[in-house]
Symmetry: C4
Subunit: 275 residues, 4 copies
């Protein structure tokens, strides 16, 4: 990143490198510390929701919660100060998440009935993704997200087909079983079809008639077979990405193009021998 025509004070750029980058020792230490603070604060949110613990240790939880909120507020302020364009950061995805991580605590203190907003603090967990910049995980996450991104159209087609299937099968089940067997409406039956087709199978709603059980068997076998499709899509994508990675290790000495197969003897772009 070029630092020319950067009118900010030099300490702000140094602060930005520590907070936003992970390459320097200070930046890495900051990320690790932030990771620990996030995990601890989310654990606190989870503990707070357990009624017996909240009643017994309410005061300690409140103190710790305010400590984390103040810590994250300072961090949020430092991010706003150190970044080049504060508004661009504030409206970015992580900027909004950082804001939502601190604002519910203040709101619950000011507005009387805002306690239910406290759950929003669970979004703090999303901030962990920022720390995935750390070390070697970046590359691995890159392979996975590239494979998912390049197969997103196939997966959309697949999920669309599944949604249409569960709606039609759910409606058929509503017709077969009827309201007396718990299939009280089509949305309810579609919910049953999703529970069955994804092989979750809660068992809170099960077919009672013979025809219903026969249709349920079809849905199950369908769901059991159809899961092969997204798996096949993603696997093919990962294999291809991996093979693509194996392909691209050589570059042409003449035109420096890449992407040659391992056994190519001539550059496929300019025809020069690969030597």
């Amino acid at each position: 990143m070029s630092v020319e025509n950067d009118t900010r004070a030099p300490w702000r750029e140094r602060l930005r490198v520590i907070i936003f980058e992970a390459d320097t020792p200070a930046g890495k230490a900051f990320d690790v510390g932030l990771l620990i603070a996030i995990v601890l604060s989310v654990s606190l949110v989870m503990i707070e929701s357990v009624a017996p613990l909240r009643e017994r240790h309410g005061f300690e939880i409140d103190v710790a919660e305010w400590a984390f909120t103040i810590l994250f507020t300072i961090e949020y302020g430092l991010r706003l100060i150190s970044v080049r364009r504060a508004s661009r950061y504030a409206w970015s995805f992580f900027g909004v998440v950082d804001f939502l991580a601190i604002v519910p605590t203040y709101l619950s203190a000011l507005v009387p009935g805002a306690e239910s907003l406290l759950v929003i603090r669970g979004l703090r967990l999303l901030r962990i993704f920022r720390v995935f910049k750390l070390g070697r995980f970046l590359g691995e996450a890159g392979v996975l997200s590239r494979a998912l991104m390049s197969s997103r159209h196939k997966i959309t087609v697949f999920l669309g087909t599944v949604l249409i299937l569960v709606t039609i099968l759910g409606a058929a089940m509503y017709l077969i079983e009827g309201e007396e067997n718990g299939f009280t409406s089509i949305p309810q039956s579609v919910y049953w079809a999703i529970v069955t087709m994804t092989t979750v199978g809660y068992g809170d709603l099960v077919p009672q008639t013979l025809a219903g059980k026969a249709l349920a068997s079809v849905v199950m076998v369908l769901g059991y077979s159809v899961i092969a499709v997204p798996t096949g899509i993603v696997t093919a994508e990962i294999v291809e990405t991996a093979v693509g990675g194996r392909v691209s290790t050589r570059s042409c000495p003449e035109c420096t193009s890449e992407g040659h197969e391992a056994d190519a003897r001539f550059c496929k772009d300019c025809g020069a021998p690969m030597a």
Copy 2:
């Protein structure tokens, strides 16, 4: 598509292109509008089946339902008029679906006890597949359906084997657990075997004896392992389709070697230009 010896009026051909094709802006707009109408009308069918909503908003639902029915009737008429051979369309898969999408509403108004036919309107959802012609989804759906088609014999063999297995295992379970533990007949036990082997596991019927639990464990581990087979089939097919598409279509005009990548400009074996 050649338009010669087409005796229809030109406006009918223009109408056909709008309704049946998706390449022109008008055709695309028609498809998007149709997609929205289908989703809304199916949502309406689902809402209508929820008893409290039906009682409170019965009149509004009826009005909206008739509006959609008239809309789809007009669309059906336009399709019949614009297409070259009306009878061939009327008896095609989508022609029948289009017909089934409108006829239940008329029947329920004419025949008193035909309300249960209204669920057939859920088939409207099938019409969404027609809109999959839209944009890039066609290609993706093509890869998936080609992979499924070319592996259909393997999947038939697999499903046949699974069906034979669940029948034999279900009959064995009927012998082991018996009627006193809920396994009242072989079809019921086969249903249990399907529920277990597909890893759905409702829990409405579970083994009670030690021998039954041992056999159930075998069924579960079998189902858990055997799911690898359809996944393997479909994945291998998709990988092959993807690799085959990327590589083997071109041959060198000089040395006739094969296996060139799609973007190769020179033969990787003799260095001649690929032309």
Copy 3:
């Protein structure tokens, strides 16, 4: 199959070809007829186990059952007569299955308390595998069973590891939850671990304590991830078999060896140019 030094009458060899082979029109017709008879007779066994149907149509079921038994007895006799060595057939896998398909009906008529043996007739279903010789399914089944056979050691290692895991995790759960929460013994807990790890999840036995739920979560995530392993094994095997299939289409003009890659220019076994 060489027919020399075959001392049987020629009609017995013709009979054998009809009954055991599927290449001739008569053999194919015999196989299709047998397939239908098997499916019908197994359906009959299933129907017979449904108490209301058995009470109402007991006589018709008995008549049909005896008809199928006599039919299969005649078929068994013809197989014994037509085959070259009757004893080798009688003790082969399908010979035993053919015998078990008819003997329970006779036994139930002779021995008073032998009704429970009737379920053994469900093994008739196994005879369907014999008909898989029909047409193109043979090749597809071959690919699948080859892939399964060549990955059987890997799958044994995998299943062994899973069995050791569920035993240790089940024992740990027995220690954590104890008898008061339904985990009454280690075998019972191991059963729970299998139900959970294979993602079946009946729900007849669920952890109640916090520690139990935490361990259960570990078992679930483990089972959810570990299923990737058999899938990966089988997929890799099928891909390899398929690629191997693509490889083997060329044979050396000099030494007729096979298994050459598509872009090989010289025979990899004798060094002659592949032309």
Copy 4:
């Protein structure tokens, strides 16, 4: 293993080869015997936990348990004696497991309330992994564990993402369903999210409201699709390991081309013998 500057008596080295190696007939027989003893002793631990069996056959179980404990104690002593550095073995993974396999029985005899420690004997099962050295399973286990090891970073990223997802989705479910529908705390809701996302679906905790069911459907479809990712990772890894092992190890001595199959005798590019 070089035996020079080995100051131990020769019989100790011979003992070590029998106990720790599997190449000699005596070593193989020892391993098979040990495998049987482990399986029998673990079966005994399982049987002991079944209350009716323990009450009826308590004495026989105790006798057999002490027999196995003394057998394993002797084996442990022999291992300590025969190995070159006893302390290194004692603190190795299998050394600790071997120790934990015998110590609970002695403790339960000495300390009155130490019966619950007896479950630790279940760890004896881990010793089976040592016997996997036997024969051809070693290679197969090697392929699997190499594939798992080289994909461990990808799987860590995947599991981390899944954990973050279930926490956020669980917290959302706590907000939607609330304590009156059984979602009494965020940890409880996260447990539900894990049960649902891994498609286990016990059914002990199910959404009751419409919004809850809608969110549950999202979780299910997510879990159903997302399982494709670890499968894809492991499959790609196994395919790569298999293909890499089969092809890329040899190069032609004449033209130095690569990518020859393991059984090629002549270079597929220039026809020179591969020697």
